[in-house]
Subunit: 375 residues, 2 copies
Amino acid sequence: MAKRTEPIKSNASDDTVDKLEGLGKTLLTEIEKEQSPSFEAPLRGRSNVLHNEKTGFLYLGDKKEKRFFLNVAQAKKFMQTVAVAAKCKKFKDENLHTSIRGLFYQLKFTLGEDIDEELFEEQTESNDLVEDLEVSLAVKREDLNLSTDRKGVVAGNMKIKDKFGGSETTIDCSKQGRSGWMIPSDVDNGMEILDVDADYVLVIEKDAMWQRLNEDQFWRKERCILITPKGQASRGCRRLIRKLADRKLPIYCFMDSDAWGWYIYWTIKTGSMNLAYLGGNIATPEAKFIGVSMSDLDTYEFLKKLTIRAKDVDIKRAEEMLTYPWIAKHPEWVKELKTVLEIKKKLEQDALQGPRLTFVGDYVREKISKKLFLP
Amino acid sequence: MAKRTEPIKSNASDDTVDKLEGLGKTLLTEIEKEQSPSFEAPLRGRSNVLHNEKTGFLYLGDKKEKRFFLNVAQAKKFMQTVAVAAKCKKFKDENLHTSIRGLFYQLKFTLGEDIDEELFEEQTESNDLVEDLEVSLAVKREDLNLSTDRKGVVAGNMKIKDKFGGSETTIDCSKQGRSGWMIPSDVDNGMEILDVDADYVLVIEKDAMWQRLNEDQFWRKERCILITPKGQASRGCRRLIRKLADRKLPIYCFMDSDAWGWYIYWTIKTGSMNLAYLGGNIATPEAKFIGVSMSDLDTYEFLKKLTIRAKDVDIKRAEEMLTYPWIAKHPEWVKELKTVLEIKKKLEQDALQGPRLTFVGDYVREKISKKLFLP
């Protein structure tokens, strides 16, 4: 059984089939030795999520759970996991992709013939099993030919080679007009960033603001890669940001100053609790927060009348963030969050359009040139 | 004041500025004549939403409401509407776009200086005013330089000329790789379909299924335009489908057989209650429903074990749909919905992947070649 004590670092999927076969062989060996087949995976609960002070991202600790085929309570889940692994192996062999929902129906179709029990009635169950497999084999589900929800758009001087479905295309992200190129589910397998001619990456929370800057040709004038995750960043979007950071491009995040904006930022930066098992593979600790921030209220007088009332969720989130050691260690963030708790106001990035629509670009330019960002 | 008894048909926005100026001039004339300035708009409530039996789409009836500046109860809303119109005129003059949220902050910024009252505290209020303006001037908000939520992806042999933000690009939708081109908010102003080399348009409810068929290069092999609205279709997506139908391409919709799938289909076909004021501009009555449908259970034996339990929302929706005269007049739909109510099962398009991932394409091919669709 593959073991994993380090966060997943590699993006190579070439060995995914080997790992799947390895799992099968290990089980067979155990059976031949008349041992109960077993399956080990790191525990994914919050109690096993740790923050790596040095690297700056969340990862899974050493706690593990082992499942045995001959344990009555675990037999069903054990069998399901093996069935999922077998299907993924088949998808790899066929060189075809599907969603978790597609996997669910394949399992329902296959197992329904042999056994009476409807094992995979609920999708959440198969989703859970896929996570088990990702964790124990140390591969991403994208490497298992499972596509995930995609969201987010990119534009800028970047060319991408895309081999998919038996054809090859070069995507020019500077020629995508008003819309930009949609960030795919899998930005690794068969996809390669050919060249990037940019000084930095700007990640903008809201699509509407992305469209605003795209209209101003901001990415062309400022030589940047313009990304919007369209709210919370998808796995593919987070992974793309990581890959751009690997090319030594600074990553600047431009979000609302509220619960949701902070959450999106910190998820990009440290990774999320749920996906801690992917560790440094989709986290970008180098990311900086350029705003909007409460300190903007001192710099830009007009913003004072454009704040809006903080909701309960914003207050709760600010309190919660102050308890995370990786946030509380930054005095800038402590000050920011305490201001929100004190004045009970929030600030949206859209407010920068108050005086004139093109002010947004001026704001971003000033923040970046003066290096005014939160860590 | 511009009047509108017919649903908006034109997609020309050249006269939007004229219309905005016309509104201002009418108000001025009324003031000069010492009349109370007034503003008339069709009533947008459900009581004024009608289905045009002949053309097949929802539209607003003749009921109107008139607002007067000197009426105490209406003065505030009247002034707000004029402020929105003035801002949109400014955006048109500047040739810049923003979202409703951006408009909200511009109004908050401007009015906040002159008046004490925070008129636009809530965005829902400015949203409502934009609808008033759309309806009374018979223009779309996209024509007022307001961008809307965008969603949906397209691929296929189609070239698009895109003039936006001072640059011009040609988008080749056959060279978008694994991702496809994101459907923009505004598919009219500055955007032109140059040529389409396809036999039909396939609209697929779910992005995951779109990705499946995109991987199979379905659009290339079958000479079709592959669109996913990614769930409910955005305004831009619905308008793009309308424009493709105007080019005499058959529109085939491939949805789940459940509340949500039916709703998405009928919204594309007849338009929606909320946007009835856009009438034929974003409705595509020519659209056909190719499945998945309850009648598939007879044709494809394996699907019987891949149905899932219908939820309350599915049952309620089926009952509701049977009360709409434009649905109830089709015996095929009545049969379909009654089957759902009887067996209390639903069927997802993803289930077609049960036997093998590539079966989805075979299903679509068979449906289209044998003309097996619901009206």
